[in-house]
């Protein structure tokens, strides 16, 4: 499962490629969400231990040596927060895109350069 981290990093790089080269801001936003997904994958992956299951108790499990059966619950908790934050940022980016389009009638990021230097 450690390879999943590389998949995550591949997604991050893919997202960066989109963010750095695409001109359409919607695609840039998509690039951002791809990076976000990659990061989530990396976080969850780091909590994973081979051969173990999700940290949810079921009937019949013996309390005491549970820490030998479960994966790390902390990254799972963190990723929940990270997803929510990513969602919030994405939502705002999209609203920005809507508003900018209304103002400038273009989604091309190269056209938003009235402020520079």
């Amino acid at each position: 499962m450690r390879e999943m981290a590389f998949l995550g990093f591949a997604l991050v790089l893919l997202g960066f490629w989109a963010m750095l080269t695409r001109k359409n801001i919607l695609r840039i936003i998509i690039g951002f969400t791809i990076i976000d997904s990659g990061i989530h994958l990396i976080i969850v992956n780091l909590g994973y231990l081979p051969g173990r299951t999700a940290p949810i108790l079921e009937k019949g499990m013996r309390v005491g040596d549970l820490s030998k059966h479960f994966v790390d619950p902390i990254p799972s908790a963190l990723v929940l927060t990270a997803i929510v934050i990513g969602l919030a940022v994405t939502a705002l980016m999209l609203v920005y895109a809507v508003r900018i389009y209304e103002r400038k009638r273009t989604l091309n990021i190269d056209k938003y350069r009235e402020l520079k230097w």
Partner: protein, 226 residues
């Protein structure tokens, strides 16, 4: 072209950094002290079967408060940005009969599922956020099926506000009645594995679920435009 070249070079270097990072992290075969403690003590201390929930709601409850606030900010921000919109877009075509009927049938089921998810957050996978998102997805379906339909925004805001208010209030109850702010143990832990157990976790997750659901519906409603 030169720009692409620079970007490619930089991304390759970034990849090397990531490679170096991941390659050099030793795989672990046992949990650290802190996570072992959560797993070993969690069921007894917090009473939650879902230990991720125990971490999210109890141990790192303060993060979750922040998370709820972030979502609240997103909803407020979307409202703030959209209130200054200048013009409405042309009406879209009416949705097909299948979509409308299907959405009418599914909406109650989806809401019910969402509610189930946030109520059972301490027992099964899921929780307030997941439940809230599921509920919002029902409304999304409804918006797609009936773009012209209006939801009662004031009621939505009211649910959002009140659930948020009670969420913080339950945190305050933890501060006053139990060990600290957002301590879920101000209610009895109850019998492990039952719906009403794990202290205030189901309560907190219900508030969160309602809040998240209504906020996301609000965002969708704002994005839909009128």
């Amino acid at each position: 072209m030169a720009k692409y070249f620079v970007i490619i070079i930089l991304l390759i270097l970034l990849f090397l950094i990531f490679w170096n990072l991941q390659k050099n992290t030793a795989p672990r075969n046992r949990l650290d002290l802190l996570s072992s403690r959560y797993i070993d003590q969690g069921p007894r201390e917090v009473g939650s079967a879902n230990l991720v929930t125990a971490v999210v709601v109890a141990y790192r409850g303060f993060d979750t408060l922040g998370e709820v606030i972030v979502l609240f900010l997103a909803a407020t921000g979307v409202g703030f940005l959209m209130q200054k919109r200048q013009k409405a877009y042309p009406k879209s075509n009416p949705a097909s009969e299948i979509l409308r009927t299907g959405s009418d049938v599914l909406l109650p089921v989806i809401i019910l599922t969402g509610t189930y998810i946030f109520l059972h957050g301490h027992l099964t996978p899921g929780g307030g956020f997941q439940g809230g998102v599921v509920i919002a997805s029902g409304f999304l379906l409804q918006f797609l099926a009936r773009p012209e339909s209006r939801i009662k925004v004031r009621k939505l805001h009211f649910i959002e506000s009140i659930s948020g208010f009670f969420y913080v209030l339950s945190g305050l109850a933890g501060l006053i009645l139990a060990g600290g702010f957002l301590d879920s143990r101000f209610l009895p832990l109850g019998k492990w594995g039952e719906l009403i157990s794990a202290g205030a976790i189901p309560l907190i997750y219900s508030f969160i679920g309602l809040k998240v659901g209504s906020e996301l519906v609000g965002i969708l409603n704002n994005l839909k435009g009128d």
